[in-house]
Every structure is written in structure tokens, then in C-alpha cells.
Symmetry: C2
Subunit: 269 residues, 2 copies
């Protein structure tokens, strides 16, 4: 896979999508399709779609909606000229009654005519902007997964969807914290500005050494831990809602869209 | 009413809301509750809510969603501590089967347990920001309504909701056009950056002298007509969909929320 990843890293979008659709490439998407928006996924029966969409609207930092399919239509036409959501993501997790049932590389057999697809912006977009501005991101430099924590911040509930906000932590040099805030606020579709910076205990996190997801990351002297709302939040809310069926991307294995990373709106025109 | 408007102009938000709720104040809201977000309204039966919410997500410039109620709950709790949508707007239009049925000052008798309220950001927010930056807005200086035009730009359809985008025009001094673009792009919940500037015929507008809604405004020498997506767009889409019942605010008579004008997200925390 590694060899193939290196090849795809410099390939154009059509190439990358074809490799994923055909099942040749089944690994993570960080660094692929550079310059284009990547998205988290939640695929639910229509019965729950209005409540989930309200949940996203009420919690725009953890759940920045970038696209919603028509019911039963697997083509994400607002985000790409030819994106079939059943095949164009490298790996999926299928949940039944709130528990992981299996993972897979396409969902052709699970898809049905009452499904609605939700695509949600992810942190890649603002991380790239921070790096472009010279702010180092430790987990990227060290090829790790960003550390994520269950905070004590309540989400705004909607129907069966509720729970605490999950946050991701990046240690930012003290002198660049304001820059990091200002830059990330420019990307409301990629979690926007941080929800907290400074003492982790203020948001119910007792130790940075034991993230609930991802890898622990150091906070060197003269650095401040900065916390952004995280796309795991809706996954946790969905699991807690114990829907009969729900499909997500496998973490790190995102949907790559045709929308430019810096587009004002996530809709092709 | 004019006397009362002058008094309310300097009143705090609770005062303004009480005057509206009690029916003492029934006129337009421009300039009231300064510093707080105002919103356009669309109230629909739940049957159409998911399609309409998808329409807003796909057309975020004309339809920037700032709040969605729970079905049957008239309290807009994400945008205010005590906003009852049935009484807290100065005037409403009630449509039946796509045609205006009547206007009124509360909707206590029309409201039912299957209604969903959609609040949409409006242009006041970015206009204030332009004025603060020294960019003159003719229709405000002359106490007129902004000129609005049916363009030839298609919206992205969703279910029964579709149609052309309605745009509003402001003549901006040539030297300030880029500033106007940059400033308004900072307000994605208030229509964001303009959709066009320059020759109106490029977007299907034959004459600026005959707006489809509002008052004609001059374009002086050294000024450029700049067009923003307009909140009348969803009203036109809703009328065309001929829903059995739909309620909107009466143009200019908006919902005043507890959300600050410059809030990063339109959700009280």
C-alpha cells in the first residue's frame, strides 16, 4: 500500500478516485487530492435525517455540513461531478443498533433507497492553512493521529442525537496562538476557531497523556494546548442513538471531493 | 409608529422584544436591536422540512441557515433565551397553496404541532460591516428598500424547491469593490461574498431601473453594480412549490435574535 500511496500522492483527482473506486487503494487519504476538500461521512435512514441535520446545524463546529444527498441517491452531485458514495471512499464502518458490525471497502450491498448521506468538513483544511502560515503541527510532522478527548462540553441535542463534544488537541507555540485562532476561524466548514485553549481541566480533560482516541502528543514549554471541535462528535452521538443502521467512513479514510479546499461554499457551480 | 420606532431604536433587546410580542410594535426592524443578528423566516409543515433544509444547504448564499426549530416547538432556543416564534416577529405573511392568504401580527391560530421553523441570515449584518468600513450604501442613506432582481442563475434544486436566484444590488465605488467583496465574504451567515459584479446582463438582468422587488437605486459614475444572493430566493422557491401552508416574515419585519451580530456561530452557548 505504501508504494501506492506515494504514487497517488502526486496523482490528479480522477486518478485517485479511480484507484479508490476500483478497490486498488483502500488506505488513508491524508495528503491525497491536495487542494481539494475532504469530508467525514454519516449515512443514515431517512427517518433520522431531519433530526441529524438539525443536530449538525446546532453544533456547527463539530459537525460542519458540507453536503447532503437526496434520499436514495448515492451521487453526491453538489460536491463532485461523479462521486458515487457507495464506492468512492477507501473504507467504511457499518454500525447496527449502535455497535460496529463490520468494516468494508464498498457499501453496494448495504445501501438502500431510504438512505441519506451527510458529508462533514474535516480538520485537514485548517491544518493545511496553519502549516502554510508556519505553525508546526506535531502529529503531522511525526506521522501520528491527532489526540482526541471526550470533553465536558454538551452538544445541543436534536431528537435522539446528543452527548458531549469530542475535541482534538494541537500544541501551539504561545506566540502563535492568536494566529492559530484567527486562521482557523476563517474555515467554518473545517470546525472553525478552537473551542478552548489553556488548562485542559477547564473542559473536563484530566490528562493529556491519555487521549480517548488517537495518539498522545507532547506540549513543549512555551506551547499552549489548543482544542478544536472534532468530527468524532457526531459519530459518538450516532452510536449513542443506537440507530438500526448507520454507515460512516473509517477514521482517516475520507471522501475526497471536487470542491476546492479554499472554496467559499462547498457547492460546485 | 414612527415615534415608537425612534424610542425603540435606543431600547435594549428585552424592551424591543416585549413591544413586538405584546403587539405594541408592528413595523419594520431595520436599526432595532443593534448588534444582534436578525433573521428571515420560513415556517413549513414537517413533511417538507428535510427537502427545504437540503435546499438551504445546497444554496448557502441565498439561504444561510441560522436556526431550525424542533418540530412543533415554537421556542427558537438555539437563537434566544425566550423567543416564541408565534408572537415575536412584528408581521407575518401566511401562504396557502403558493398564494398569499393573509398577513398578521401573530400566528397563534395558524401554528400547529407539525410545523418546523427555519431562520435564515439577512443582509443587515454585512451591510453594517460595509458601512463601518466607510463604504456608503445608497438605499440605507436614502431610506429606501434595496433593489432586488430575478437573475438567470439557477439554484440547486431539492425536492419541490427550485428556481432562479434572486439578487440584491448595491452600487459600490470602483475603488472599494475588492474591499466590499473581502468584507462580505467574512459573513457566510449573511449571504457571504457577492455572486456577481459588473454588467448586470451577465446574470440576465436587462435593466437596473426596473427591479422586481424594492426601489431602483442609481449607479453613479465610478461605481460598479455589485450583486449579492438575496433572502427572497427561498420565498420564491417556496411559493413555486405551492405548499398547502407556509408562513414567512413580512419583508423587512424580521426576527431579532439574542445572537451577537459578530458571533462565529449562530448558536447560544
Amino acid at each position: 500500500m505504501d508504494n501506492q500511496y506515494q504514487k497517488l500522492k502526486n496523482a490528479d483527482l480522477d486518478h485517485v478516485r479511480h484507484a479508490i473506486r476500483s478497490g486498488q487503494y483502500r488506505s488513508h487519504t491524508a495528503g491525497l487530492g491536495q487542494g481539494f476538500l475532504q469530508a467525514n461521512l454519516a449515512i443514515l435512514p431517512q427517518e433520522y435525517a431531519l433530526d441529524f441535520m438539525r443536530f449538525c446545524q446546532r453544533n456547527p463546529k463539530p459537525c460542519p455540513l458540507t453536503g447532503v444527498s437526496d434520499t436514495g441517491n448515492p451521487m453526491m452531485f453538489t460536491m463532485g461531478r461523479d462521486i458515487d458514495i457507495r464506492t468512492d471512499v477507501p473504507a467504511y464502518n457499518v454500525y447496527r443498533n449502535g455497535a460496529l458490525d463490520h468494516d468494508c471497502h464498498d457499501i453496494l450491498d448495504v445501501w438502500s433507497s431510504d438512505m441519506v448521506v451527510f458529508a462533514l468538513g474535516c480538520s485537514f483544511t485548517f491544518e493545511h492553512a496553519l502549516i502554510r502560515d508556519g505553525i508546526p503541527i506535531w502529529h503531522i510532522d511525526h506521522d501520528k493521529t491527532v489526540p482526541m478527548f471526550r470533553s465536558n462540553i454538551d452538544t445541543v441535542p436534536s431528537g435522539p442525537f446528543r452527548g458531549k463534544m469530542v475535541v482534538s488537541m494541537r500544541a501551539i507555540p504561545k506566540s502563535r496562538v492568536q494566529d492559530a485562532i484567527d486562521i482557523s476561524r476563517k474555515f467554518p466548514l473545517a470546525h472553525g476557531g478552537p473551542v478552548h485553549w489553556g488548562d485542559p481541566r477547564d473542559i473536563g480533560i484530566q490528562s493529556l497523556d491519555a487521549p480517548d482516541w488517537g495518539d498522545a502528543a507532547p506540549v513543549p514549554d512555551d506551547h499552549v494546548p489548543v482544542f478544536w471541535a472534532c468530527g468524532v462528535t457526531p459519530q459518538v452521538a450516532i452510536e449513542a442513538a443506537k440507530l438500526p443502521l448507520c454507515i460512516t467512513h473509517k477514521p482517516g479514510h475520507m471522501l475526497i471531493t471536487d470542491v476546492r479546499d479554499d472554496a467559499e461554499i462547498p457547492v460546485l457551480t
